[in-house]
């Protein structure tokens, strides 16, 4: 989310620059490149070629670093493009024009006055990403040999362990409901539009 937001700001500062092209490419790639291909590529790069991590025999942090990197790579593009789209919309708002008229540069105005709108928009993207993180990351966990929740669910599905699957579906609903509630509360507190805050 952090890298995606920064990339979104960079894309907006230089609309036809490298950051914009890179964020666009990340979004297309996240929709069309299978996660097993990315996971194998990351495994080969960081564990075999560069040897930064030891996925199987390393410390707990080294073991989860690979799957986190893969999941983060897939989530970065959407956050960057939503940030970019929000900042483009912000620039045509009256209060942004007022900030420019008061003497702020476009970049400073985007940082100072666009931040809240960006957080509100990215909070909406965060809910499905949170749902994806609990169960949708099985491929990365399997490639890196991490015995995470997703891999456990896959095992339960393969062995038709319905008790685990039922509990998992309930947990997903509770998790998403809680996340949705928290993010709605956050949005109502920080949204700059008064009609939403009421």
């Amino acid at each position: 989310m952090t890298f995606g937001t920064l990339l979104g700001y960079a894309s907006c500062f230089h609309r036809h620059g490298i950051a914009s092209a890179f964020s666009r490419m990340l979004v297309i790639a996240s929709q069309s490149i299978p996660s097993f291909a990315v996971a194998f590529l990351v495994f080969w790069l960081v564990a075999v070629e560069l040897q930064w991590i030891r996925p199987v025999f390393g410390s707990p942090i080294e073991r989860i670093a690979g799957p986190i990197l893969v999941v983060a790579l897939f989530a970065t593009g959407p956050f960057a493009r939503v940030t970019f789209g929000t900042l483009v919309a912000v620039q045509s708002s009256s209060w942004f024009m007022t900030a420019l008229a008061k003497g702020l540069s476009r970049k400073r105005a985007m940082i100072a006055h666009g931040g809240r709108s960006v957080v509100v928009a990215n909070a909406a993207v965060l809910v499905p990403e949170l749902g994806w993180a609990v169960g949708g990351t099985a491929v990365s966990e399997i490639v890196f040999g991490v015995s995470g929740l997703s891999a456990y669910i896959v095992e339960a599905a393969a062995s038709r362990d319905y008790a685990v699957l039922q509990l998992y579906l309930v947990a997903i609903f509770v998790w998403l409901g809680t996340a949705h509630g928290c993010i709605t509360a956050l949005r109502s507190r920080i949204d700059p539009r008064p009609e939403v805050r009421r």
């Binding site: 291909a37 194998f40 399997i142 609903f173």
Partner: protein
């Protein structure tokens, strides 16, 4: 110009699919030839052969049919169900409208991959089970889209005129609302089809009901993962097939 470009890209994707199917015509994807094991890509074998001497190109073509079946089922389930529930939400009584919207919101809440995973656990991994599960998840999204876009379309003057002339709700839905919301839904379908290709490959990769004889692209990647350093072309074929089909569909159908 963009329309021409997209038509051209659609033709390119269709051409690649046709070439793959033609190359594999009449060949057995399960034919084992140990004397030709792990052959690198060549003119005769564009994607090489695997550890059992099976042609990767022929297996990819076999897997393509299974993936296309998922896409067909997704479209066949999601579009009619989404439209029907969306129009019920617009034209139905308050109770029916609430039910349709609640169903759709509940469906949208659960990530598609997880719903497909649960369906696979119950019915086993097949193009039919995955296609229907992803189709049901997508139907929820189409319901919300059709309801929201349809309500906006109902405010148009020409629709209001039709209502005043006494056209039935079904007539209004088919003649006015459907053509108005179709372009938006087509764009949405383009991303859904791409996601379905990737999701099916992911489900097959994690090996639910694993059967190494199956030519699903994800299952092939799972089977060939042990040769990732020795014979990387084994993994290139399935990954490229998923990427080209998903990316091509997304690009060709979007504006």
């Amino acid at each position: 110009m963009p329309a021409k470009r997209h038509a051209l890209s659609l033709l390119v994707v269709a051409g690649l699919v046709a070439l793959l199917l033609l190359a594999a015509r009449g060949s057995d994807p399960h034919a084992i030839d140990l004397l030709r094991a792990l052959e690198p890509p060549s003119l005769a074998q564009p994607f090489g052969t695997d550890h059992l001497g099976r042609s990767i190109a022929v297996r990819l073509a076999d897997g393509l049919w299974r993936t296309l079946a998922v896409l067909f089922l997704l479209t066949a389930v999601a579009i009619p169900a989404g439209f029907a529930l969306g129009f019920l939400a617009i034209f139905g009584s308050e109770a029916i409208s609430r039910f349709a919207i609640c169903f759709a919101r509940a469906g949208v809440a659960v990530p598609t991959f997880i719903l497909a995973l649960a369906a696979t656990a119950v019915f086993g991994l097949s193009p039919v089970s995955v296609g229907i599960a992803i189709g049901v998840a997508a139907a929820a999204q189409y319901t919300l889209l059709a309801a929201e876009l349809g309500r906006t379309a109902l405010k148009e003057h020409f629709v209001l005129a039709s209502v005043a002339l006494g056209v039935s709700p079904v007539g209004i839905a088919i003649r006015h609302v459907l053509p108005t919301i179709a372009p938006v839904l087509r764009r949405h379908l383009s991303t859904d089809l791409a996601r379905a290709v990737v999701a099916y490959a992911g489900l097959a990769f994690i090996g639910l009901g694993a059967d190494t004889g199956r030519s699903d692209w994800g299952a092939m990647a799972w089977e060939y993962r042990a040769w990732v350093f020795e014979a990387p072309w084994l993994l290139f074929g399935p990954a490229a097939a998923v990427g080209v089909l998903a990316g091509g569909l997304s690009y060709a159908m979007d504006d």
